[in-house]
């Protein structure tokens, strides 16, 4: 580490570059929410009103419960996958590992649409089963229920569980397990008495992350939950803010939600540190196990199940976008008309505006979150002082606050500071930046941390100043992390619906918002065409990230 007195002013003040925008873009709206929640308008404080209503407790209780069930289901489905990714060796492993990252870049509204198309009462699955077994009613009526929420959350998160725990398993020494075998324990006993306890840090850490995601889930619950019975804090904030127009109530709920998610983030980070610590102690890299015989069949079935659950809703969505009915109840025919309609003035000009807006917002998000995330990553990996650590925490906190809460904060800030401004474009872009830059930060940090600490020092001894060292040594070496982070930011902005929906005004219709409206109007064919387009863009981003090394998709590298 270069002494601070040799860093120059630029080096010493660099932490202001990420910190100041974060203060304005994240901490200001968050503080506005807390102030409003405490103060409110006339009458009793919003908090008092909130907690005197038993419905509030039902919403909070349901939020905690659905996140818990989703997490357990994701872990159970993900654990076999973790073994496959961590310990087995087979052909196509790389591909499988890459596939587990796909849900990560898929916008939630897209998954919602795919679920409606595939699992809906007149969806692909039910029609297929009714046709084959000659049934009168759909056998798999799960839509708009608790199961639909859990299934969608599992869709999102079991690949994540497999990926996170698998990465830990891969580096986890198998010495203790082998020792248990030589001491007389059978494979089952060994698994439960030695292997599983060894994996617990990773399991807890993954569970914490998944719980947080499910707790903050919005579009899935909003559409697939289908009503007040299955409402979470996030959805309730949206209802209070945009439907019943009770902004004080929304602020109070948002404050409660933010406090809960921030404490969860804190616990998760603690657990991640412990997991990282456990791995560090074990140097030996265990061998992998070659799949053979019956094992192959068993695991083949698991992989087919995974592909069915993950891929078929997405394929159904794409398939549907090329179909149309000749008459209202007529047979289906192949067509491109939905795609043509997307971009024709006479058709849904809504879609055209949405695509244009989404692309503009995504580009702006990339342009802003890239320098922000880069500066934050540089500061947090290169300075060990109290300031550096404080900056790091301040920069990572946005991950622990849902974008619905963030959107509400902007909504209030717009009304407070710009009462005459009728649009919301700037606020939407700002919200997207806050959502995206922590991912840029992670992606760039991962590549910065892999640079040997002596490389920048060598450059310094050869005559390069701080900035020259950054330009000639560090920047070229983190290129893949930067490009990966940029793609990630682009995909996140393209798919963002939470904050966008709360902030939506006439000038801010985006692809996810258009999808939401099309689903609400039961215009599924057009929705599928627009959805396929969005999916194509997101998967292109994903492929680019994978091609650049995929490090931004590995949350365990934090």
């Amino acid at each position: 580490m270069i002494p601070s007195s040799h860093k120059g002013w630029g080096g010493r003040l660099l932490w202001l570059v990420p910190l100041v925008p974060t203060l304005i873009l994240f901490y200001l709206p968050l503080s506005v929410i807390f102030v409003e929640a405490l103060k409110g308008g006339e009458g009793p404080s919003p908090f008092v009103r909130l907690f005197s209503n038993p419905y509030t407790f039902r919403v909070i209780g349901f939020t905690l419960w659905q996140a818990f069930v989703s997490t357990v289901v994701s872990l159970i489905l993900g654990l076999p996958g973790a073994w496959l990714l961590g310990r087995a060796s087979f052909r196509g492993k790389r591909l499988l590992k890459a596939l587990t990252a796909i849900p990560f870049v898929l916008p939630s509204i897209l998954v919602v649409l795919a679920f409606v198309i595939f699992y809906g009462n007149s969806g692909v699955l039910n029609r297929f089963l009714m046709g084959v077994f000659d049934l009168k009613r759909p056998p798999f009526a799960i839509l708009y229920s608790f199961s639909a929420i859990i299934l969608a959350h599992a869709f999102y998160n079991f690949p994540l569980a497999a990926r996170l725990i698998g990465a830990f398993w891969e580096r986890h020494s198998d010495g203790p397990a082998l020792a248990a075998r030589t001491l007389g324990a059978g494979p089952v006993r060994t698994f439960f008495s030695v292997t599983l306890p060894g994996l617990l840090p990773a399991i807890f850490s993954a569970a914490g992350l998944i719980y947080l995601f499910c707790f903050m889930s919005f579009a899935v619950v909003l559409v697939l939950g289908g009503g007040p019975r299955y409402t979470t804090i996030e959805v309730e904030i949206y209802r209070a803010a945009r439907i019943s127009m009770d902004l004080d109530m929304a602020a109070a709920l948002a404050a409660v939600g933010a406090l809960l998610t921030l404490s969860m983030l804190w616990i998760t980070v603690k657990m991640q540190h412990r997991a990282a610590h456990t791995v560090r102690g074990q140097a030996a890299r265990p061998g992998t196990i070659r799949l053979s015989g019956n094992m192959k069949v068993l695991w083949g079935l698991y992989i087919i199940m995974v592909i069915l659950v993950v891929a078929s809703p997405l394929l159904a969505l794409v398939g549907r976008s090329f179909l149309a009915r000749t008459t209202r109840s007529g047979p289906l025919v192949w067509t491109f008309k939905w795609y043509v309609a997307l971009f024709s003035e006479t058709g849904t000009s809504l879609s055209l505006t949405a695509v244009k807006n989404s692309l503009i917002f995504a580009c702006l998000t990339v342009c802003a979150s890239l320098p922000l995330g880069l500066a934050a990553a540089w500061v947090t990996t290169r300075s060990r002082g109290v300031l550096g650590r404080l900056t790091e925490t301040a920069m990572m906190l946005p991950m622990g606050v849902s974008s619905v809460v963030l959107g509400l904060g902007y909504f209030k800030c717009l009304a407070l500071f710009f009462p005459d401004y009728s649009g919301s474009r700037a606020a939407v872009v700002a919200a997207h930046v806050v959502v995206a830059y922590p991912f840029v930060l992670r992606s760039v940090s991962a590549s910065l941390k892999r640079i040997s600490p002596s490389l920048p020092l060598a450059a310094r001894t050869l005559g390069a100043g701080t900035f020259q060292t950054f330009l000639t040594v560090e920047l070229p070496l983190i290129r893949s992390g930067l490009v990966g982070g940029a793609c990630f930011a682009f995909a996140l902005s393209m798919g963002e619906i939470n904050a966008t929906l709360i902030l939506a005004r006439a000038d801010t219709i985006t692809i996810p918002l258009a999808l939401y409206r099309l689903i609400g109007a039961y215009r599924f064919f057009a929705a599928c065409a627009l959805g396929s387009l969005l999916m194509g863009l997101c998967i292109a981003c994903f492929l680019w990230i994978e091609w650049m090394g995929g490090e931004s998709l590995d949350p365990e590298r934090e």
């Binding site: 040799h6 002596s454 020092l457 450059a459 050869l462 000639t472």
Partner: protein, 343 residues
């Protein structure tokens, strides 16, 4: 003088480092000591990669301790080579020249010369990851000396290499030093490297330099018990000087001594011990514990008066495990470190 380190001081918790050191122009000086003694910290402070709490560093008469590393005019070779993985070998070597705005033609010429000096002319366009450890080390050396530094710093540069390569490379490093008359400060924990490479050695322990001297001087006449035991194989016996003799704690007379009476430690090298048959007269009785065949020579481990002693013997030694005899220590080669004097 070229490099002058004056009362350089630094504390880390309980650890204190306080160093005075001078490296003359063109001299090859090694700092040697066990890990954690502060030798790498000293080097990094000279390079400007770590800050001192107090004291000064003078290079060619210029005070540099408050200069950033890029302004100090030093060259450094890192333990892990620190080659820029995104640059080719020639670009790595040219890096420092480019920053000094050396013209393209002159730069290319200099890179060519340096690569031929370290025998890597054919690897100019290779990326570092495709080179062997030894080749990477040579690129690191060429890169460090390219901008003509006033002093070259090497931080355990050979520690990551295997034994044979280490011997080969240390000779090369010395040859490059001699050819360019570089002032060199070399840090290592390997006593053999220090002995074979250096004009002078500084022995460091617990954050201070105990002693500096030529390899031969320090090896044959260490002023400190620590220096003696750290450099090369040695034997020590605890005891006292009594009536002109060194006697062990159990009362066994070992060698005559002209030192003042009092407790202390007797120090001697394995080649200062002669082993005799039991039929000889005088000497200390011993029994052979173990014989180690080392190729060119043999190490005989014996026990005498309850103490383990190691002795050099020829390849064809008659000594075998369990055999008894009488040993004699050359009083010229044995040094007595009084408890009141030695560290």
């Amino acid at each position: 003088m070229t490099l002058n380190v004056n009362d350089l001081f630094r504390t880390y918790g309980d650890f204190q480092l306080r160093v005075n050191l001078t490296v003359e122009k063109g001299e090859f000086l090694s700092v040697i000591g066990p890990s954690g003694c502060g030798k790498s910290t000293l080097l990094r402070m000279v390079a400007g990669l770590e800050e001192a709490d107090a004291g000064g560093i003078e290079l060619m008469g210029r005070e540099i301790s408050h200069e950033p590393p890029e302004k100090r005019g030093i060259g450094m070779v890192f333990q892990d080579y620190a080659l820029f993985p995104h640059l080719r070998v020639a670009e790595n070597v040219a890096y420092g020249l480019k920053l000094r705005k050396v013209g393209k033609k002159e730069r290319e010429e200099r890179v060519r010369d340096l690569l031929s000096l370290v025998r890597l002319s054919d690897k100019a366009d290779a990326f570092p990851s495709t080179l062997s450890g030894g080749e990477q080390q040579r690129v690191a050396l060429a890169r460090a000396i390219a901008p003509n530094p006033s002093v070259l710093l090497l931080d355990e540069p050979l520690s990551a290499l295997d034994a044979r390569l280490r011997i080969e490379l240390r000779r090369e490093i010395r040859e490059v030093h001699d050819r360019l008359s570089l002032t060199t400060l070399y840090v290592t924990h390997d006593q053999e490297e220090a002995l074979t490479l250096s004009d002078r050695i500084a022995v460091m322990n617990h954050g201070v330099i105990l002693q500096t001297g030529t390899p031969k001087g320090l090896y044959e006449n260490p002023g400190h018990l620590f220096t003696g035991t750290f450099l090369g194989l040695s034997n020590t016996l605890d005891g006292r000087v009594e009536n002109g003799w060194f006697v062990t704690q159990s009362g066994q007379r070992i060698v005559p001594s002209s030192e003042d009476s009092g407790p202390g430690t007797l120090f001697f090298r394995p080649h200062h011990v002669a082993l005799h048959d039991s039929s000889a007269t005088g000497g200390v009785p011993f029994v052979v514990k173990r014989v180690e065949y080392c190729g060119g020579w043999t190490l005989v481990h014996v026990v005498a008066d309850g103490h383990g002693i190691v002795v050099f013997a020829s390849r064809e030694t008659p000594w075998v495990e369990g055999r008894e005899g009488l040993l004699e220590i050359d009083s010229e080669g044995a040094l007595f470190f009084s408890c009141n004097r030695s560290a």
